[in-house]
């Protein structure tokens, strides 16, 4: 047992880093959550889920972002964001999905997926599992991500938002009225309030997928992807 006690002591310096990165984790979660809020708003605007008059221009990420001013939609998104914030901070969710659903048929027309990867501890864990030899390499890559400045993160987010905006050029025109659903892929042990229910993944039938850019903070990596149905004409 003295051996185990000793090894525990050895972990003290190692623990110092996680403590600091825990603070970073909090800030990073905020960045990620904020990004989701703006992304959802952008999608709602760009895909015409709500009329353009309901949106107001706000300066964010060095861009003119559009945020809804409709009180109902605002509070709806706020309710989602409140829970998302908790989950992201706790590292409980791995995916966020905004599904654009036809109002009449309930058919999923579009599916915006954001994969959240928790870096640092989690990333190391995953890498080590694959090949044991890579163990030494992993901390280095972990170090690299630590150096990222706020400006860099912002410009990465800016690029994604630009892509979301630009995606209307290739996404098919949504015929008829649509609404949206927000899904999350949560861990099994996540605290789930009553407002959230188990759901199917709401995949798009015969989907074409386009991967958009990703951004990463010191603690999170977010990949963006949009899936949409090809038009029947093709």
């Amino acid at each position: 047992m003295p051996a185990s006690a000793k090894s525990q002591d050895q972990h003290e310096p190692a623990k110092a880093a996680p403590t600091r990165s825990k603070l970073q984790l909090k800030g990073s979660s905020k960045v990620v959550a904020e990004f989701f809020e703006y992304s959802i708003n952008s999608i709602l605007f760009q895909r015409g889920i709500y009329p353009p008059e309901d949106f107001q221009v706000v300066k964010k990420y060095g861009l003119n972002m559009l945020l809804t001013v409709d009180e109902e939609v605002k509070s709806y998104i706020r309710r989602i964001m409140m829970q998302l914030n908790k989950w992201i901070t706790g590292g409980k969710i791995s995916k966020l999905v905004v599904a654009i659903v036809a109002l009449d048929t309930g058919e999923v027309a579009e599916r915006w997926q954001f994969d959240i990867e928790v870096l640092s501890k989690g990333a190391i864990a995953r890498k080590t599992t694959s090949v044991a030899d890579k163990e030494n390499a992993v901390p280095e890559s972990g170090m690299q991500t630590k150096e990222k400045s706020v400006d860099e993160i912002q410009s990465e987010i800016q690029a994604i938002i630009r892509q979301i905006t630009a995606s209307v050029t290739f996404l098919p025109v949504l015929e008829g009225r649509h609404t949206f659903n927000v899904l999350v892929y949560a861990d099994g042990d996540a605290q789930v309030p009553a407002e959230w229910i188990d759901s199917d993944p709401k995949e798009v039938r015969d989907a074409e997928q386009v991967k958009l850019r990703s951004f990463s903070t010191n603690s999170h990596k977010v990949d963006t992807m949009v899936a949409y149905r090809l038009g029947n004409a093709e």
Binding site: M1, A3, S4, A5, S7, Q8, Q10, H11, A14, P18, R47, G48, I49, Y50, P51, P52, D54, V57, N64, D70, E72, V73, Y76, R79, G91, K92, L103, K121, G122, I124, A125, R126, T128, T129, A132, E135, N136, V168, L174, R177, T179, F180, N181, V182, L183, V184, Y185, A186, D187, G188, D189, A190, V192, A194, E195, W196, I197, D198, S199, P201
Partner: protein
């Protein structure tokens, strides 16, 4: 991930999973760095992020030990493992106990489906993930109570494993319905939409084609050289109709006949004082009278001019009057000897007279085609301009650029010239194509409006300094004699020889709701502040 789990479960756990022996070897041989990483891992696992079946197996091994005495020898020195993978949350003492127990009996292993299943471990970990190992018996007891579910869960987990699905993640949807959009949206109309809403059609300024209001002005003298219309700062429009002076209150719409001159005379000039309380009236016989508009009585008469007084201009207490004989008199209305100075340069009737807003310069125009700019301190003109080829009646100082003066010439001239009052230089010119009868700068826009006589009889709005004609209004049938701007700058009043007094909302502010001066009550009838003492 799966191979790392045995360490995670307990420090003392031997790797008792027969199905994964190949993974164990590298771990044992790995560098000293490895265990530490595992420990990190372990803590993250304990926090409940992710649990793998193998982890569970390892753990369940321990818990099941009492009930499954038969064990396979894993073939590895377990003590080596034990020492390298501590769990911070595990109390040292129980760990020691466990270590001891493992080394004693962990040599054979008969896999038991129920004990090695993911579900089993899941249940256990949920019931007490970080349970002290001294609680083994109670923990296993609690897991036994889940027995009926366990087989189902075990089946589920093995199926999920076979399919490569992560059983531990749930897909959750936010249940409440998203609010419906208020109206159907056609995205196509949105693609061409500017990011910021521009001034839409309703907000764009449009020049009126018809007058806001038309009043009769019967008997107005069709004389270019007279100035018979003025609008006071408290929204009273004074108009001279031959012998009568009428005051029309733009706020209330009431009309009063302020005065009637003696027979054989007529009103030739009207000017409101700066405070709007008094109106100066020039008569055809050379008399200059000051009337109190509120009381409706004459305050004083300032005689002395030899001929009719066609134009006047106030600078606070100084009233300057231009006479047909070409003289300009400055009257100090406060003192008995009212004539304080005389400007003599014009050879013919003075028909345009305008003090600069700061009172430092006076511009005058005459029938001798001259424009004079006088310094208030000197009785000789600072500049004399001979560019106009006809009488100059229209004079206007720019409200936003103090030294800018606009002058308009008569029928043979048709030009508006712009002057720098400081240097005397001509800075701009417009050929309007018509006799210029009056000029008014806008206080809202960078524009100037000119009224015209022969041949077009129109109103023209010019932007300055671009000199682009922004609009034209064919408002009157005959020539426009005079114009006056409302105190809020939105409305222009014009009177023409067709005996109409018309009001045009040409400078209305867009976006802001400007209460119109015409026909609207601005509120409390505020008392007219009489700034001056007139004897």
């Amino acid at each position: 991930m799966s191979f790392s789990t045995p360490i995670k479960s307990r420090p003392s756990v031997a790797n008792c999973t027969p199905s994964r022996p190949s993974y164990q070897q590298p771990r044992l041989d790995s560098s000293p760095l490895t265990p530490r990483q595992y420990a990190q891992l372990t803590s993250s696992f304990l926090s409940g992020r992710r649990r793998s079946p193998a982890a569970a197996q390892g753990k369940s091994c321990i818990h099941r030990q009492p009930s499954s005495p038969l064990r396979l020898d894993s073939g590895h020195p377990e003590s080596a493992l034990t020492g390298t993978g501590p769990v911070s949350s595990t109390p040292k003492k129980p760990a020691k106990k466990q270590l001891y127990r493992t080394s004693v009996q962990g040599d054979r292993f008969i896999p038991s489906r129920s004990s090695t299943s993911t579900a089993m471990s899941k249940l256990e970990s949920e019931s007490k993930a970080s349970a002290a190992s001294s609680d083994i018996s109670s923990s296993s007891a609690s897991s036994l109570s889940y027995q009926p579910n366990m087989t189902a869960l075990a089946y589920q987990s093995s199926v999920a494993e076979a399919c490569g699905l992560a059983l531990n993640t749930r897909i959750l949807a936010f249940k409440p319905e998203a609010p419906q959009s208020s109206k159907p949206i056609d995205l196509r109309s949105q693609y061409n939409r500017p990011l910021k809403p521009l001034a839409n059609a309703q907000l764009r300024r449009r020049l009126p084609t018809s007058a806001e209001r038309i009043l009769d002005a019967p008997g107005i003298r069709d004389d270019y050289y007279l100035n018979l219309l003025d609008w006071s700062c408290n929204s009273q429009v004074a108009i001279g109709l031959d012998r009568d002076l009428y005051v029309w209150n733009a706020e209330t719409g009431t009309v009063t006949n302020l005065l009637q001159t003696r027979p054989n005379t007529y009103i030739s000039g009207i000017k409101w004082s700066g405070d709007g309380a008094y109106v100066a009236v020039g008569l055809s016989d050379g008399d200059v009278q000051i009337w109190d508009a509120e009381e409706g009585e004459k305050v004083r008469s300032m005689t002395g001019h030899a001929a009719r007084v066609g134009v006047m201009s106030w600078d606070r207490h100084i009233l300057s009057s231009g006479c047909r004989d070409g003289s300009i008199w400055n009257h100090d209305v406060r003192i008995a000897e009212h004539k304080v100075s005389e400007y003599v340069n014009h050879q013919a009737e003075v028909c345009g007279l305008q003090w600069r807003s700061d009172g430092s310069q006076l511009a005058s125009g005459g029938n001798d085609n001259l424009v004079n700019i006088w310094d208030a301190r000197s009785s000789t003109p600072k500049f004399t301009k001979t560019n106009h080829k006809a009488a100059v009646k229209a004079l206007a100082w720019c409200p936003w650029q103090l030294n800018l003066l606009a002058t308009g010439g008569g029928t043979y001239d048709k030009h508006i010239h712009f002057w720098n009052g400081t240097t005397g230089a001509r800075v701009n010119s417009i050929d309007t194509g018509s006799q210029v009868t009056s000029l008014q700068w806008s206080t809202t826009y960078k524009e100037i409006v000119s009224s015209h006589g022969y041949p077009d009889n129109n109103l023209a709005i010019w932007s300055y300094p671009s000199l682009v004609k922004n609009g034209e209004i064919q408002g009157h049938d005959t020539r426009v004699l005079s114009s006056a701007l409302s105190p809020d700058g939105s409305t222009l009043a014009t009177v023409a020889s067709d005996e109409n007094l018309k009001f045009w909302k040409i400078f209305e502010q867009i976006g802001k709701k400007v209460s119109s001066a015409v026909g609207e009550t601005l509120g409390s009838g505020k008392d007219i502040a009489k700034v001056m003492m007139i004897r």
